[in-house]
């Protein structure tokens, strides 16, 4: 086995199965700015969705919390995306056209319109809280309806964005990556809401919702890994496995699920708070490992040749 510069292999096997082990495709440059956007964008979508639904159902307490959390997560989102551009000063070029088969084009418009409608909804919420009475309730309901399609879109479109590329780790899982991100977005949103929620009677309902999302997320993630098979190795046994298994899966998904179920019996506030913190940590780590393991997936010619094999 001869190893040339930078680990480039020059054995007969390596040359026979690929071109000197050189990557075939190129990874996206996305790093921490995009990881942060994925995390905040999911909570923005989840928060403004729950806020809109709560407004329509007349649940004032929940509407307030959800709207504020949603807006707090929405505000840094465009800034993160603009900073990630190679030419940030040209960010408005995203709105020159709409390309319905490009998740990035759809997302740019969704984020813009969510800022408009969700901002309107949150603004009315703020005015209502400052004046102590509902301001323009009919308008609040209208904004809620207008917000929903875009807030729902934001919870999971980033998963579809990753999947509509050639990176095997993402692309082979194109049917389940979106749902996985949806479940994680709602989990992290509910965790944030429960950390700020003060009423005891809400805690049990929040925990019920959180358990449902955790089960959904675990199911989508597992099914996705099964579907990926060996193309999932950058995540499950590559350099990011050391974060994926202990942080994303154990601490971020299984532990909060267990804590929530245990707290259902004991009613322990500490357990619920711990579960919420771990869920937020897990949600952030999911996006981290997914992005960075994707880079590793792009570097493996054998994975790409498997993905593009003639069937």
């Amino acid at each position: 086995m001869n190893e040339g510069r930078d680990g480039v292999l020059t054995t007969t096997d390596e040359v026979r199965s690929s071109y000197y082990g050189f990557p075939v495709i190129k990874a996206a440059h996305w790093g921490w700015l995009v990881v942060l956007y994925f995390f905040f964008g999911g909570i923005a979508g989840g928060g403004l969705t729950i806020g809109a639904l709560a407004t329509l159902r007349g649940e004032r307490r929940l509407a307030r919390l959800a709207h504020y959390i949603g807006m707090a997560a929405l505000l840094p989102s465009p800034i993160l995306l603009i900073l990630d551009l190679g030419r940030p000063e040209r960010f408005l070029h995203m709105l020159r056209i709409l390309k319905v088969r490009s998740p990035l084009s759809l997302g740019s418009w969704a984020l813009t319109l969510l800022g408009l409608f969700g901002g309107g909804a949150a603004g009315l919420q703020l005015l209502s809280d400052l004046t102590g009475k509902p301001v323009l309730p009919a308008a609040q309901k209208a904004f809620a309806v207008l917000t929903l399609p875009f807030s729902l879109f934001l919870t999971g479109y980033t998963g579809v964005l990753l999947a509509v590329t050639n990176i095997p780790l993402w692309a082979r899982n194109y049917l389940l990556l979106g749902p996985t991100f949806v479940a994680s977005a709602f989990s992290t949103t509910l965790a944030a809401i429960s950390l700020f929620s003060e009423k005891h009677e809400d805690a049990e309902r929040l925990a019920r919702a959180e358990v449902m999302c955790a089960v959904a997320e675990l199911s989508f993630l597992t099914a996705g890994l099964v579907r990926l098979g060996r193309l999932g190795r950058p995540l499950t046994s590559g350099s990011w496995a050391a974060v994926f298994w202990p942080v994303t899966v154990l601490a971020g998904l299984l532990a909060p699920l267990g804590l929530n179920l245990a707290a259902a019996g004991s009613g322990s506030v500490t357990m619920r708070r711990a579960s919420a913190v771990l869920t937020l940590l897990g949600g952030f780590s999911l996006r981290t490992v997914m992005i960075f393991a994707g880079r590793e997936s792009a570097r493996r010619p054998e994975d790409y040749f498997e993905y593009t094999r003639k069937r």
Binding site: I25, K26, T49, S102, G156, V164, M212
Partner: protein, 271 residues
Amino acid sequence: MATSKGFLTDTSLCIGCKACEVACKQWNQLPMDGVEWLGTSYDNTHSLGATTWRHVTFAELPGSGGAGAQTNWLMMSDVCKHCTHAGCLEACPTGAIMRTEFDTVVIQQDVCNGCGYCVPSCPFGVVELDVAHGPAPTLAGAGHDGKAHKCTLCYDRLQDGLEPACAKACPTDSIIFGDQDDLWAHAEKRVAELQGKGLNAYHYGDEQVGGTEGVGRLGASFILLDEPHKYNLPEHPILPQDHTFPGLATMAAAAVGLAGAIAWALMGSEE
């Protein structure tokens, strides 16, 4: 109305002189990428990128039979494929990547804002963002512009009735430029000729033979003498955007379903 133009790169004629790489760099005023001896045959360019739009690959394939056995030395000048259905073009959210009157794919540099989505969307790993990748030296004053770059099929030369720089420079006419229909007819004849000589030649880029399906006919196609992966080409490239609607459908179903379940859990009948 101009006809569809393209390249046909016949690897059976390539002598690995790299005149195409040099001509391309010279005409497009592209900076050097640094000098690194990679130890992979005569290929020290590594891959196509933001500042390398022609890349000659040299695959030394040792024959069986031990020392002295015939080696197969595959040489190919790699380039942007100018796909009929281009992953980069369909991904681009600013409309910077467009199809020209020659049916080629070109990135308008005054529109691109460097989002980088075209990069993982190319099934051949062609397009790249011009950003710093580490301590590789560039010409003094030639900083990085943060935008996406790739072969333009010498759009500026085509508009003046000239052929692309690489095709002009190629001493063996391994790279030929012309109307895509003419190139297709030429490839068919040439492949038959090579097969007649006992070579495993085939036309890579033809939807029918070997096939590229999702990306359609390749504007820049190749006559290859061995399996695609030996040239670092995918056997069956996939157009990523064929997955957009199915992916959005499952995502929307999950979003609506979970939102409904959460609404039931949080706001259900008890009050």
